[in-house]
Symmetry: C2
Subunit: 199 residues, 2 copies
């Protein structure tokens, strides 16, 4: 198909499809003349995927890196998850793992597989809250951890074992696309709980 058809199938304008091509988010088509190229079904899938990553708030640079993981998948879901997490939460400077490691131990979570990125993200989020005078008590934090673990169980249970490509695609998409789902659900649930308590 031509680029106009590709764009239509992917739900974007032709200008946007061309922009994705220029940014290397979409691989080039098969040239059929000096000014025309043909695209096929995998291009449509990649276009939809790119659109979803950008709609989830990823920058073009991060989306390009995530798509790169899909093109040369790691040695299994565990390595792939690590790669994607490192891309999504890059680490700036040295990471003080002590406090977060103590928390992981309290919850009985594996501390060896906890990557610097998410460890630093949690440590920093706790610091920021405390600096603002917001106390996160152990009960609140334990409850958050329990809920996050339930969510993660669902995330990982859904990883297909049919093929490694399917697994890769699922891990990457699930990690990124379900974040806004979780945050929106929390807000809707807060309204429900508030109405019961204060309404």
């Amino acid at each position: 198909m031509r680029i106009s058809e590709l764009a239509r199938r992917g739900g974007v304008t032709t200008a946007t499809a061309k922009y994705y091509l220029r940014e290397g988010l979409l691989p080039p088509g098969r040239l059929t003349s000096a000014t025309q190229a043909q695209y096929d079904e995998p291009h449509v899938q990649r276009l939809r995927l790119t659109r979803a990553l950008l709609a989830s708030g990823l920058s073009v640079a991060t989306a390009r890196e995530v798509l790169g993981h899909l093109d040369s998948p790691a040695d299994g879901p565990l390595d792939l998850l690590a790669e994607v997490q490192t891309t999504l939460t890059p680490v700036e400077g040295p990471v003080d793992r002590e406090r977060v490691t103590a928390l992981l131990r309290r919850w009985g979570w594996n501390t060896d597989v906890a990557l610097d990125g998410p460890v630093a993200a949690l440590a920093s989020a706790l610091d920021v809250a405390e600096a603002a005078g917001f106390t996160i008590g152990p009960e609140l934090l334990d409850g958050y951890a329990a809920a996050a673990h339930e969510v993660a169980e669902l995330d990982i249970a859904g990883v297909p074992t049919t093929s490694s490509e399917d697994a890769v695609q699922h891990v990457v998409l699930g990690t990124i696309l379900l974040e806004p789902v979780l945050l929106a659900l929390r807000r809707l649930a807060q309204a429900d709980v508030s109405a019961r308590r204060f309404g």
Copy 2:
């Protein structure tokens, strides 16, 4: 205290404190001469709060709006939560509530208090995932909703009843500052669950 001391107490540089003043994030101090102003304890609190809001990823404009809610609090936690949610998830264009309302009914959540912002955010997040070819089955979504409701119970249980200012501060900060905590915990939990399943 002078602005240099205010900045030091709030953990920012003097240049940053001046920037917050210029942007209206921090109220002006009490002028003691043509070029000098004095600041007091509430300024320190406000400075720390501002820093935390910006560190959590809010834009200057959104932080200003959130701080405005704190200055003229709504008629109670329920109204305040609504105001803050509307600021954080502004609605663009008409909202198709049908699909999300059906979900809320399935979970037994109050549909009347569900604001357009979070409703539109959930509808859009589900659309984006599906357009990318990621299927969110009912089991996964129900599990996410249950976990989000547990988190929201913790959020609302922690709202202090001592004074309406405390309640306001808690709702605003909790809604914003605990989002990065939840997302970091999910990533750490995913690594733990993956290690158990694939390790």
